[in-house]
């Protein structure tokens, strides 16, 4: 039946997914720094500790490497940990357990085990938190076979992808852009899944394909709206999953539009844009291209503190508009 339309913030949607997963399966538990009475640095876990108790909403000491390893071990032995990094930057402290252990154990053990682990990473810049609290490291983890990496851009997908991640028998890394936490959108109340590995076309158009991730999806949609006023019809694809990559959706779109722009917040070189571009160059869509592929990514530097520099360090809506316009105006 048609449910009442209900809006939640992105953070509330994540929280609802966590609560529903814990209600449905008592093996599911949460680990992280200050996720208990504090409610999480971004108030994602909120009051969950009062509903589920300290045994299922566990505050860890400040010990990312060790705590990540504890989560891996618990997953290996039949529990379903959902681990929150306070900031995605602190994944760097836990890389050993994520990359050497979680990602590889199943393979190294000949497929005898799986590691049903979910890790959540508040990511991205725009909060004035400077170089060590603003990074976009999703491409790092997406480089590692054995991990799945998702990047929900809307409250709807934040809930659905997280529930899918918790169901998944393999380690799933969920990147949540900090600037999205307070954004609102429609979220069905009942539990539902958004499939891992499926991109979505957020706006259709024939002139150019914009492939975007996370907050860049919203900037790309804004840009597309402006460009429509100039007679440029941009198709916007929200990638949603970095690994496994939904090649088909991007290939089909590029075959239709003949132009490709990739927009992502991570550092431009050796990142998501490189992968998408190369994937297209290797595919049947290559023959359809009418113009060089354009990548818009973060600048080649750490994220600066000064707000003007910080903004200039990652793609903004006017940058997308300008690049798409240039690309399309050059059409023959």
């Amino acid at each position: 039946m048609n449910e009442m339309v209900r809006e939640l913030t992105y953070a509330q949607a994540v929280q609802e997914a966590l609560a529903q997963a814990m209600e449905a399966d008592e093996r599911v538990f949460l680990m992280g720094e200050d996720i208990g009475v504090y409610g999480g640095a971004f108030q994602v876990t909120g009051d969950l500790v009062h509903r589920f108790g300290e045994d299922r909403v566990m505050d860890t000491p400040i010990a990312e490497l060790g705590a990540a390893g504890v989560a891996v071990g618990a997953a290996l032995a039949g529990s379903r940990p959902v681990f929150e990094f306070q900031f995605s930057d602190f994944a760097t402290l836990a890389m050993e357990q994520i990359v050497n252990q979680a990602a590889k154990i199943r393979f190294m053990l000949g497929g005898k085990v799986s590691v049903p682990l979910v890790m959540r990473f508040p990511a991205g810049s725009g909060t004035g938190a400077a170089a060590q609290h603003s990074q976009s490291l999703e491409a790092w983890l997406a480089h590692v076979p054995g991990l799945k990496v998702v990047q929900p851009a809307t409250p709807h997908d934040a809930k659905g992808l997280l529930l899918a991640a918790i169901d998944d028998p393999d380690p799933v890394m969920v990147f949540e852009h900090k600037l999205l936490y307070k954004t609102k959108g429609e979220v069905p109340a009942e539990p539902y899944r958004v499939p891992i590995g499926k991109a979505i076309v957020r706006r259709e158009g024939n002139d150019v394909t914009i492939v975007a991730t996370a907050i860049m999806v919203h900037r790309a949609l804004e840009a597309a709206e402006t460009l429509a006023g100039e007679g440029i019809a941009a198709e916007v694809i929200d990638l949603r999953t970095l690994r496994p990559l939904d090649k088909g959706t991007v290939i089909e779109s590029v075959k239709k539009t003949s132009r490709l722009v990739c927009v992502y917040e991570g550092v431009k070189t050796l990142g998501i844009g490189a992968e998408i571009s190369a994937m297209i160059a290797e595919s049947e869509a290559f023959d359809y291209l009418d113009a060089p592929i354009v990548r818009l990514g973060g600048v080649e530097s750490p994220i600066p503190y000064n707000p003007v520099l910080e903004k200039a360090a990652v793609p903004q809506t006017p940058d997308i508009i300008a690049d798409v316009r240039n690309l399309v105006k050059g059409r023959t």
Binding site: V37, P61, A63, L93, G128, E300, S301, N306
Partner: protein
């Protein structure tokens, strides 16, 4: 400044080392720095509330004695490494509040040219290798600085500030072990303010004191009242002397308390108002004033004068910072490398 006050009231031999080691002028300078830290942070808080600066900040109000007490016996050529809660350490080591505020405001004149902000203020010339956004990130770095000191046969030391929460990171344990096996001139100063963000030490540590952990690394570990500057300073004096003699590292745990929330967004759900008030009553600045007056080193009127001077200095610093130069966005990628080879 000459020591003009009559110190004969107490025979020198009966004075504790803190009052023997430092002149009246030095002690007053220590008090001034404590005020300066307090006013700096109140000014920062105010500027933040008024929307003049963005990002986040971690205030150390209530912890001034451990910062200043730890740095009193240091030379300019000694190093410190600091934390996310680092404004006090920076001022204690002798930084200029003007350049600190300029950093806060993201200006070119700031210590880090507006690139770092509150969490990354450093004063390398003054021996402060920097605050740190990563909990425990500075601990191995202090050990590395001490290694360089030893390699260069200097008799300087590296003093490493960190929190109780940081002592649960692997980096802490790995670093202390290396400092001990290589007998490096490091003083590890833990500012134990009872919480790592919202998690109390009771909930995050299996031992009662961070200092207990020194035993694992065969170095002295001492607990001091971190709100009493004289206790902090004397412990650091002994540790620095030991380090300069080449006898290796020490761990000092200053029991203290942060009066403000962890950061701007803290709702204090994990502690009680009574606890905060109890610690407010043990204000390290008030304590030091009383001590100095009791020792005949400070007259009541002088307290007001030192306070007013600190207030004036901070007001000037804020004014200086507000009038600073904004960075040029085209320079965004400058200083990523010292030199970048052929591109």
């Amino acid at each position: 400044m000459a020591d003009t006050l009559d110190r004969s009231a107490a025979p020198a031999a009966n004075l504790r080392p803190f009052y023997q080691r430092f002149s009246a002028a030095e002690l007053k300078e220590a008090l001034r720095r404590m005020y300066l830290i307090r006013r700096f942070e109140e000014g920062a808080e105010d500027a933040y509330t008024r929307g003049l600066i963005h990002g986040t900040m971690h205030l150390s109000i209530g912890q001034e004695a451990s910062a200043v007490g730890s740095c009193m016996d240091l030379r300019k050529s000694d190093y410190i490494t600091s934390t996310h809660r680092g404004h006090g350490h920076c001022i204690a080591k002798g930084a200029d509040p003007k350049l600190m505020f300029a950093e806060f405001f993201g200006k070119e004149e700031g210590y880090c040219r507006g690139r770092g902000g509150s969490m990354h203020i450093a004063d390398v010339e003054g021996g402060n290798l920097g605050a740190n956004g990563i909990v425990a990130g500075g601990i191995p770095i202090a050990v590395g600085a001490a290694l360089a000191i030893k390699q260069q046969k200097r008799d300087d030391v590296a003093l490493c500030f960190f929190g109780d929460g940081a002592s649960n990171e692997g980096a802490f344990h790995e670093a202390l072990n290396m400092a001990a096996i290589w007998k490096l001139p490091v003083i590890f100063v833990c500012e134990n303010n009872k919480y790592g963000m919202s998690v109390s030490t009771e909930r995050s540590m299996a031992v009662a004191h961070v200092a207990d952990r020194a035993a694992s690394y065969n170095m002295p570990g001492q607990v001091v009242d971190g709100n009493r500057i004289e206790d902090v300073s004397e412990a650091v004096m002994a540790a620095t002397a030991r380090a300069r003699r080449g006898e290796g590292p020490s761990l000092i745990e200053c029991k203290t308390y942060r009066i403000r929330g962890h950061s701007k967004s803290d709702r204090n759900r994990y502690r009680t108002r009574e606890e905060i008030e109890e610690w407010q009553a043990r204000d390290p600045i008030g304590h030091f004033e009383t001590e100095l007056v009791a020792h005949g080193l400070l007259r009541d009127g002088e307290i007001a004068a030192i306070r007013a001077a600190a207030e004036g200095e901070i007001a000037e610093a804020i004014e200086f910072a507000r009038n600073g130069t904004d960075p040029d966005p085209r320079e965004g990628t400058r200083d990523v490398y010292t030199t970048l080879g052929a591109a």
